[in-house]
């Protein structure tokens, strides 16, 4: 019985990770977008690609997006022009949602929207100045860097500890025992 509970719990935790991971590290939302899917959501109609921008050339009017992760990862080249809406959101390293259409063998971007990480339930968002105040005033909290460990190594916020998203389950023990203690998580940006 005890074991079943543990299993269910860890399944829950894994599920949460998929729902709340940094969009940049988040594979699950992009995984299903490898094949064009017709999602009729808000203003976006027609087929869309969701993924991270791995290259952009204003000269060639082309962006490369990585969709999917691991073995399923692939790079898709999408063209744009002055009629493409929201092309400013296509910045290298950022997550975007591209509504596209096929023009012969080319894929043409009709509009680009930033892919924002969803805030998990029960979590409060804070801004740079809020965090700066918390640090400067010596407030009692634990600051957690969720990026991969090597990113933490190259430069992290003052006093932060490293718990990469993928290792959260194993490293849960690094969090304070007291569940009322304030925790602040951050990663590599909103997308």
């Amino acid at each position: 019985m005890q074991k079943t509970i543990v299993k269910v719990l860890s399944a829950l935790i894994v599920a949460t990770f998929f729902l709340s991971g940094c969009a940049q590290e988040n594979s699950k939302t992009t995984g299903s977008a490898v094949k064009p899917t017709a999602i009729a959501k808000k203003k976006m109609t027609g087929p869309v690609y969701k993924g991270r921008v791995v290259g952009k050339s204003n000269k060639a009017k082309t962006i490369s997006i990585q969709v999917g992760k691991g073995k399923k990862a692939q790079t898709i080249m999408v063209k744009f022009d002055e009629n493409t809406k929201g092309i400013e959101h296509a910045t290298k390293g950022h997550g975007i949602i591209v509504s596209y259409e096929k023009q012969g063998k080319d894929v043409y971007a009709k509009s680009v929207k930033p892919k924002l990480a969803k805030m998990p339930k029960g979590v409060v968002g804070i801004k740079t100045e809020d965090l700066k105040k918390m640090i400067d005033s010596g407030e009692d909290f634990v600051l957690i860097d969720s990026r991969p460990a090597h990113r933490y190594g190259t430069g992290h916020l003052p006093g932060a500890i490293s718990i990469p998203v993928c290792e959260m389950q194993e490293l849960l023990g690094l969090l304070p025992k007291n569940p009322n203690k304030s925790l602040v998580f951050y990663c590599g940006g909103p997308t």
Binding site: S57, A60, T62, G104, V123, I126, R147, S182, G189
Partner: protein
């Protein structure tokens, strides 16, 4: 962020700083290097203290650039290099950080609490004559071709096909001798037809892609790999051409 997991695990006071490290750095605030990165990372570790202090005890690998001379000394550091700074004065570290950022260095971090913090951690120290020469080398990204290999292929075309993905207008000004050309924006739609025009080209062939900076070349490289040209590589370097005279610079 793994904030959702923490909520699941029962934590009641969970916040998320969604803008994260990029926003923090952009606001001009300092970030701090991890222990391993300070010890053996691919970076330039800068000792801002006086050369006398550095000679007595310093963090291994560090280059001596006393704060007073920093303005000139920092020119020795390649702009793409990650930089880690330490001093025995926090004000000095923060002032130096600002100087590096203003100069255009993108990856600058500090040793937490500088020299004293390192000592307190029990970090290793060395002594002896200081090092002033910067010996940083960029590590190639996956798929990147070494400049020397690229140049060797220019000399000996049997080594690789040189593929130029710049625009027609750019190529009209000048191109590398012996290179094949297809603009990046036509690569997807014309790839197979284009490669069919190159004699004896197989999917095993080495293909070195270049543009003017490496950005388009990298995108083209990914397309080539996707289409089975498994020995494609790209050049991350500045290529500027006039007629058939091109300069290749890191």
């Amino acid at each position: 962020m793994s904030a959702g997991q923490a909520v699941q695990a029962g934590y009641k006071n969970v916040k998320v700083y969604l803008d994260g490290e990029p926003a923090w750095s952009k606001a001009g605030y300092a970030t701090y290097a991890g222990y391993g990165f300070i010890c053996q990372g691919n970076n330039v570790l800068v000792d801002l203290r006086s050369a006398e202090k550095a000679a007595k005890a310093r963090i291994p690998r560090s280059v001596s650039m006393p704060f007073a001379d920093l303005e000139y000394a920092m020119e020795e550091i390649p702009i793409k290099a990650p930089v880690v700074l330490f001093s025995d004065s926090n004000e000095e570290m923060l002032a130096a950080l600002k100087m590096f950022k203003e100069e255009g260095y993108k990856k600058v971090a500090l040793v937490e609490d500088g020299y004293h913090g390192w000592k307190r951690l029990g970090g290793k120290l060395i002594k002896g004559p200081v090092v002033t020469e910067v010996s940083w080398k960029r590590i190639l990204a996956p798929g990147e071709v070494k400049i020397s290999d690229f140049e060797a292929a220019l000399e000996d075309p049997s080594k690789a096909v040189i593929l130029d993905v710049r625009t027609n207008e750019e190529v009209a000004v000048g191109k590398l001798k012996g290179s094949k050309h297809i603009p990046l924006d036509q690569l997807c739609s014309r790839m197979d037809e284009f490669f069919a025009t190159i004699d004896g080209l197989t999917k095993e062939q080495n293909i070195y892609v270049h543009c003017t900076t490496g950005a388009r070349a990298e995108m083209a490289y990914k397309e080539l790999i996707k289409n089975g040209y498994k020995n494609a590589k790209f050049l991350m370097a500045e290529v500027s051409c006039e007629l058939n005279d091109c300069d290749i610079e890191e």
